[in-house]
């Protein structure tokens, strides 16, 4: 095992001015102990923990401001509506969308992608058309397209990756054709950590007038995202991976698409006028928000965004970049450890396998030391197939993680090796 004296000089190479202690104090769950040890939470790519600002917002909203939205003339309904629409405006500014109308509240990334599949996709896709994805997609950016292709006779095309887990941009470009109806790509891979060259991807697609959807589930917690600068047509993300509540997420879409797209679900709130003969739909984004929405969690997503703005996504990205660099260096010192996903451009995810130890056993032993990681296929079975492993162990870092926690992770891994070696 690496001794403390060996670690110290390495650590001193890192800028530690970021006040991680103060940030940790905002997250009550980080005080928990697990199996008698202080919790080291490194399963952030699955879901992130919540700061007091979010927890308190939900509680305050239910205690003081809660009512249904868009339908009452009473004071509480007006307050709830203002909070709900206020959250939409905060999200709009957070991702720099051109208009609040371009922000549709959904349950999460999965629903956002399914919404695009069932509205835009269903409306435009014909037999023989192609949808282009990449080999590193999460199941939620594969299966809905596969289902639609099966129904319409369209074809799902998959752009390949290399052994580092990077998209082969040349092959990607060759797969674009006049049959390509849409490109759907992960901004950042949850299984590998790869950050895709989305500027080039979007440029290549748009040069052929092909619209593009970015699955932003993993990217949004780790970097500033500007949908206008990106010029993507659709951007999907989940609140729960962004330190916000579960059950709320966002579909960003350019107005021109939202206006043209047929509605998603039918019901209340998405209509302007209903008779038994026909229905006149509401304006966007309400056309896509049938029924009573997840009001409180949307409001709390607004509070999440406020909290993150205070700290700054750039500062968070810089801190996490250092964590990843440190963890990668430490991981290289461990004999028998192989990183899965070594792209040049990577987010704070460390996916790895150990010789002769299955990821599930790694997960159980680390849990014993209070360290939470994910072991499994990460909803990316095709990625596991590509690397020839049934599963990987994955440590994923967040704004509140520390260098000391990475030391504990590495000590834990050494223990795993000792036990199973």
């Amino acid at each position: 095992m690496t001794s403390a004296t060996q670690q110290a000089p390495m650590l001193s190479m890192y800028d530690t001015s970021y006040d991680v202690k103060r940030i940790r104090a905002d997250f009550p769950i980080l005080q928990e102990t697990v199996r008698g040890k202080p919790l080291v939470y490194l399963d952030n790519a699955a879901t992130a923990q919540k700061p007091n600002a979010v927890i308190d917002c939900i509680s305050h909203f239910y205690r003081h401001d809660y009512a249904n939205v868009h339908r009452g003339i009473h004071t509480l309904s007006e307050r709830a509506t203002a909070a709900y629409e206020g959250a939409r405006a905060k999200v709009q500014r957070f991702i720099n969308a051109a208009s609040e109308k371009e922000i549709v509240f959904v349950r999460g990334t999965t629903e956002a992608i399914n919404l695009v599949v069932r509205t835009y996709g269903q409306a435009v896709l014909k037999a023989g058309d192609e949808i282009l994805i990449t080999a590193m997609e999460h199941h939620s950016n594969i299966v809905p397209w596969q289902m639609l292709c099966r129904e319409t006779g369209a074809v799902l095309k998959v752009a390949p990756i290399n052994r580092k887990g990077e998209l082969l941009l040349g092959d990607f470009e060759k797969l674009l054709s006049n049959r390509t109806a849409l490109v759907a790509v992960a901004h950042m891979s949850n299984a590998l950590g790869t950050i895709n060259p989305v500027d080039e991807i979007i440029h290549l697609a748009h040069a052929r007038a092909i619209p593009i959807l970015l699955d932003g589930a993993q990217a949004i917690p780790h970097m500033p995202v500007d949908v206008q600068a990106l010029d993507c047509d659709f951007y999907a993300f989940s609140g729960h991976k962004l330190y916000g509540p579960s059950g709320i997420g966002v579909l960003y879409a350019k107005s021109e698409h939202l206006e043209a797209m047929p509605p998603y679900q039918g019901g209340g709130d998405m209509i302007r006028r209903v008779t038994f003969e026909e229905t006149e739909y509401n304006t966007v984004p309400f056309k896509f928000e049938a029924g009573t929405p997840n009001i409180a969690d949307a409001v709390a997503l607004g509070a999440t965004v406020d909290y993150l703005n205070e700290i700054g996504m750039k500062a968070i990205a810089a801190h996490e970049h250092q964590l990843l660099q440190y963890a990668t260096e430490r991981a290289h010192e461990i004999a028998g450890l192989t990183l899965i996903g070594t792209a040049e451009h990577k987010g704070a995810i460390l996916s790895f396998v150990l010789d002769r130890v299955h990821p599930h056993d790694i997960g159980t032993v680390l849990d014993h030391f209070g360290i939470a990681i994910r072991a499994g296929h990460h909803c990316a079975m095709p990625v596991m197939d590509f690397f020839g492993v049934p599963a990987t162990a994955r440590a994923s870092f967040a704004m509140y993680n520390t260098f000391e926690e990475i030391d504990r992770l590495m000590e834990g891994i050494e223990q795993v090796i000792e036990v199973f070696g």
């Binding site: 299955h358 599930h360 056993d361 072991a375 499994g376 049934p390 199973f420």
Partner: protein, 150 residues
């Protein structure tokens, strides 16, 4: 390694994990079924030679965690020579071991499978221990499809 973890990873489990028994393709098998755990992506192939209601030979191939590898390795040892019914009864024994919170369960009566008892403290790992057995049940029913732990 401390107490509870030692309960889960007993020496016998390490032993079977490092040196799995009956780990081979069986050319003259008359039952061959794939087991799949969608939770972790683990797959195993179970081979049986069943004659006149008796399991004459059992073997397996595949990759899994220590718990699932030990479970399938132990299983192939135990069911060899058993009747189909005896083998199915063994599954019930295992089930009792890994789901029972009853201290009164007499592990000694449960024989070699008692080494899997530690799994009951780890609900997330129960499916690792049962994958082999679900596959066995399917093989005995002569079910040719892939079975899952779901």
């Amino acid at each position: 390694m401390m107490g509870e973890l030692r309960e889960l990873y007993q020496e016998v489990i390490f032993d079977h994990n490092r040196n799995p028994r009956n780990f081979r393709v069986m050319a003259d098998a008359n039952r061959r079924v794939e087991g799949f755990n969608p939770l972790c992506g683990d797959r195993l192939t179970l081979y049986l030679k069943v004659e006149d209601g008796t399991i004459k030979d059992a073997s397996f191939q595949g990759q899994g965690c220590a718990i699932s590898t030990a479970s399938v390795s132990l299983m192939t040892e135990l069911i060899k020579g058993q009747t189909e019914q005896e083998a199915e009864e063994l599954f019930e024994v295992l089930h009792k071991i890994i789901t029972s919170q009853d201290e009164a369960v007499n592990l000694e009566e449960l024989g070699k499978l008692a080494v899997l008892a530690g799994v009951r403290e780890y609900p997330a790992r129960v499916k690792c221990a049962t994958l082999a057995w679900h596959t066995l049940v399917a093989a005995l029913k002569n079910d040719r499809d892939t079975v899952t732990t779901e």
